[in-house]
């Protein structure tokens, strides 16, 4: 066997290995999805979406859970969006390359990897105890905002970085101030990317149960929250609760609730893909 034949063989081997690795993830996901859909899809009907939790699996619904999840989603977005974008703009456009900004950057990157339960403990101490909010929607949303903030900041920076230097130079050349450049050129050009990042971060937040349980989110809430000051539960907590029950019928409920949660996540991801697509089509430099 010549050397080049050997190399070609190695090349082929790696290709096969790569395909195998790619499929492992997909196949596992597919098996999970098929299993969940088979188990749960028949359970989803209008009553399931509009009923309160119940001890009888067949009568139990997820109204308060999905309403709580939507609330959390919207509130976290409102909180994390301006904070994350402002921080991203500052770090990318204003901050000088000093030791301090370097330190900040490293920390933000590290924060993105902190386990969510730690944010739960932080939220419990800071929002629930010190600010004395109690286990309400606002406290939950603030906690999850902290959780997704690093992701929002990082994606904002990436999106801003993608705006070519020449656009900024052109703006400055016309006499625009830094703020004018950011507001009229950089932000509009990068907004699709930023929004994509925020939405992907939010779709991580909707799946969290642990930090919310820590701050005192409940399992049985017989009313739909009407303001950010109300107590709440969310879909992942309801799912977690149902999967730990002895009766098999609750597992079916859990599967049905998982389908709903997945739909919410897919919907969010779909919006993100759409926005990115639109962005790419519109911008021509």
């Amino acid at each position: 066997m010549t050397n080049s034949e050997k190399n070609r063989l190695k090349d082929k081997a790696f290709q096969v290995f790569g395909v195998f690795c790619t499929f492992i993830g997909l196949v596992v996901l597919a098996i999970f999805l098929i299993d969940i859909v088979i188990e749960g899809v028949a359970r989803i009907d209008w009553d399931f979406l509009t009923s309160l939790p119940s001890r009888r699996a067949a009568r139990a619904g997820i109204l308060t859970a999905w309403a709580g999840t939507l609330w959390i989603l919207v509130l976290s977005a409102i909180i994390a969006f301006p904070l994350g974008i402002a921080a991203g703009i500052y770090l990318e456009e204003y901050a000088k390359k000093t030791k301090l900004s370097n330190f900040l950057e490293i920390n933000i990157a590290n924060l993105a990897g902190v386990p969510s339960i730690i944010y739960g403990l932080l939220g419990l101490e800071l929002f629930v105890r010190i600010m004395n909010l109690g286990g309400i929607l606002l406290a939950g949303a603030l906690t999850l905002s902290l959780l997704i903030l690093p992701i929002v900041i990082v994606t904002t920076r990436e999106a801003i970085k993608a705006v070519p230097r020449t656009i900024r130079d052109g703006s400055f050349a016309l006499g625009a101030s830094k703020w004018q450049t950011v507001w009229h050129q950089v932000l509009p050009a990068s907004f699709g990317g930023i929004l994509t990042g925020v939405i992907l971060a939010l779709s991580r937040a909707v799946g969290e149960a642990a930090p919310l349980i820590v701050i005192g989110a409940l399992a049985y809430v017989p009313f739909v929250p009407r303001s950010p000051m109300d107590e709440f539960t969310v879909l992942p907590i309801q799912i977690f609760n149902w999967t730990s029950r002895p009766q098999a019928a609750f597992l079916t409920n859990a599967a049905a609730a998982i389908i709903i949660l997945l739909l919410i996540t897919f919907l969010l991801n779909g919006i993100a893909v759409y926005l990115r697509h639109r962005q790419q089509k519109k911008i021509k430099w």
């Binding site: 009229h184 049985y220 017989p222 999967t243």
Partner: protein, 332 residues
Amino acid sequence: MLKSRLSYFRLSAVIMLGASLAMTSCGGERQEGGSDMSGSIQIDGSSTVYPITEAVAEEYRAEAPDVKVTVGVSGTGGGMKKFTRGEIDIVNASRSMNAEEEKTATENGLSFLQLSVAYDGLTVVVHPENDWVQDITVAELKKIWEPEAQGTIKRWNQIRPEWPDQEIHLYGAGVESGTYDYFTEAIVGKSHSSRGDYTASEDDNVLVQGVSTDPLALGFFGYAYYEENKSKLKAIPVNDEDDSNGAGAILPSLETVKDGSYAPLSRPLFLYISSKAVAKPEVVDFVNFYLDNAPELSEEVGYIRMPDNIYNEQRQKFEQFAKGAATATNQQ
């Protein structure tokens, strides 16, 4: 270009506003009920007791639709922390309050009452193909689970010589659960002390899964989980070597747990109510409703009812406590 970008901002603002309005507007329906009681009751604590409290809260809604009862599942320990700080009215507990928690409650000026609401029978199980274990004594269980067993008791024949010379695989409650505290107290003799080299899970369904697929397994969990998975498991009669409460080895069942002959693994499940909470009439009403309905509802969700006279005792205890708390407040 600017305009189209800004419309993103506006669009998302409109969506958020719309969503929050939609959420505020739904859920306004009200039911007609038999009581004009109103207010709110906060309950938190053990996930083991949760199904009973959920069932009672669900039924109570028909009784008093204006009382907002909420139930959390932050565990007995987590619930106790909130309870002793006076943050919640009632705590679901799968073990008794410990000395430290009692101290915190007293420091915060709270007195409290423990009520038993149902029994659970911790069931010792093996794989259905296990044909050698017909019964087990408490002493043998202790030998298996005590801290000294770690790394030394690894084979079935070390426990009883006639059992096979094969590995034993252990499955049990996670150390954070009240189930673990109760089991170690009853078997090892000291709460929160056992060997650590076993498969532990807070989720009993995981333990069911483990034991039902492992022919060399031995595990324990709540009775309801055995009852629901009977075909995949084999329960082992437990002999406490004390014939005064039923002779020989006894299998857990509705009867043996209820009459106390399934000892020492029958455990009571508790509610704790604080003196601060009984000042609220809706809490008194709710607890009375709870005790009236606990026998039936606890059975419905998979636990075991206590004898009627014990429920009566609980009712009397609670009545006195509520009265005492009321006079204490009047004197202040």
